[in-house]
Amino acid sequence: MRKISIDPITRLEGHGKIEIFLDEEGNVANAYLVVPELRGFEKFAEGRPVEEMPRITPRICGVCPEAHHMASAKACDAVYHVEVPPTGRKLREILYSAFYVADHTVHFYILGAPDFVLGPDAPPAERNILGLIHKVGLEIGGEVIRCRGMGMDIVGMLGGKTIHPVGALPGGVSKAINEEERAQIEAWGHELVGFGQFGLQLFHDVVLENKAYVDMILSDAYTTPMYYMGLVDERNLVNFYDGKVRVVDPEGNEFVKYAPDEYLDVIAEHVEPWTYLKFPYLKKVGWKGFVTGRDSGVYQATPLSRLNAADGMATPRAQEAYEHFYETMGGKPVHSTLATHWARLIEILYAAERIVELATDPEITDPHVRNIPTETPDEGIGIVEAPRGTLTHHYVTDERGIVQKCNLIVGTTNNYAPISISIKKAAQAMIKKGQVISEGLLDRVEMAFRSYDPCLGCATHTLPGQMPLEVLVRDGEGNVVERLTQFVE
């Protein structure tokens, strides 16, 4: 068996690595994404007061601290059996929606869009945010940064800190907003709605009007039917902050809908000998290996899966965009990995509209934003949709609220198996009978996992949107017979 390694040369905080194994005929047998796992969080958490968790868990990840903050606060609400007052809940959701706008904006414009707007075959040195700005104009580039900044400013206003928010507490939030702050959030929200519409228009003009891109999105190399997961409200519409987790099968029919405290009945985790990572799967379907389809318990939790798992969007413009998405893609569910970028843009618009909705809610300036917990703490589970997938925090405490047990299923973890499968499919299109189509292999493989926006907890980037990769093609004895690289000196 030959082995191809796509391995970032620059190791800093750890590194992600892609291994491609060929069979005897020289075709792709398997492909895996190998990432370093942070160790010992459960032990680290044990013995700490549970109310510290919303401030500690955001430190797990420099990319999505807000998601951990929110899932943790919700788990604490459950531990203390305390109901959050309506205004506290709405303020949390504004903060969370603003975070979504900022986070998705970074992913789409800085990492995703260069592949499309400049094209996957553009020279890698130009295929980055700077090349993008060169093409679409400085003004638009400035707008992207400004709108991301607005999202972060709302997070800072409501969370107390922009980087690691501290605003959510068991039972609510620490601070109400006044009329001036409300008006500011509303004004920013309107601007962000315009920005969300702009993103969809850009996608339409640059991607959908270009047959080559549409063909690529719809191509078999990027099509992987599987189960799809996402949080929905009581009307089965997409919600990032609260609701039940709905899973649909590869045909789009509801497979299960579960409340946070039922997650262990639905999700199990598979362990492989070659990695510390665990691969979550649907317990009732079972783990059948790195394969997709109805008989495999592999599911994905991404912007695309959230749209697939829901019946629609809760805001009008996003709903229109949702309908247009499925009409264009030929019905529900959509199985094309690259359509995740489009789904992400629809979510930006939804999040922006939701900010305006909540900022104009008559009770949003109500000073009653927290119920002080009075019950004895014991056990609680909190779930939110992180931008990279369903995020579950589960704490067990003693009667003093000291953490005895802690379990987290983080966004990207849900997608480890689908990412590996997508990489395999992309590689299969580029490697046939031992012939490696070196031109574009790295790009196509990178595009396959980039659409998942994986959070690897590690440093694998050099210049903007560029990942140092090395591909080693080895023969049966492990000798290197071919070497492909990008951004490696």
Binding site: P8, R39, V106, I133, A459, T462
Partner: protein, 156 residues
């Protein structure tokens, strides 16, 4: 010169917090009106927000290089980095990328020459913990002196 000293890293990931510990020690030693101290656990665009508006920036962070020994101190400029510390991630821009973007968009940022990176070679950044490993702990006082000397001479 309006200077910012930023401790970068994650204070709950063993050696990853070293930059933050160094900056805390510096803050206790250096009281100057023109020097501001900050802590951040982020890179890319989020880091750009932190350093915008300063004329000179000192970043203190953990690093792992191929041949480095835990406790080694590297003194680098952004141009020396192919990939930068925590500023690199699959989700965001690298430090050099973020700087190039920010300048391209007209943000007020220090020149690359006015950004110095004090990087401490570390051992373990994958285990949760609030203390650094012994070799890294032993190097903290040296790193503090190195940054203080830089701040005194005004050399970026």
């Amino acid at each position: 010169m309006k200077t910012l000293v930023v401790g970068l890293g994650n204070p709950i990931l063993t050696d990853d917090g070293v930059g933050i510990y160094i900056v805390r020690a510096l803050e206790a030693r250096c009281r100057r009106d023109d020097v501001t101290f900050a802590e951040a656990s982020v890179g890319g665009l989020r880091l750009l927000d932190v350093i915008a508006g300063y004329e000179r920036v000192v970043l203190v962070d953990a690093i792992q290089t191929c041949d480095g020994k835990p406790g080694d101190i590297h003194r680098l400029h952004p141009n020396d980095l192919r990939a930068s510390l925590h500023s690199g991630s699959t989700h965001d821009l690298s430090l050099t990328g973020a700087l190039a973007l920010g300048r391209g968009l007209g943000m007020v940022l220090p020149d690359n020459e006015a950004i110095v990176i004090i990087a401490i070679e570390v051992e373990d950044v994958l285990t949760f913990g609030e203390t650094v490993t012994p070799a890294v702990a032993a190097t903290i006082p040296c790193a503090v002196e190195a940054v203080l000397a830089d701040l005194e001479t005004g050399e970026p």
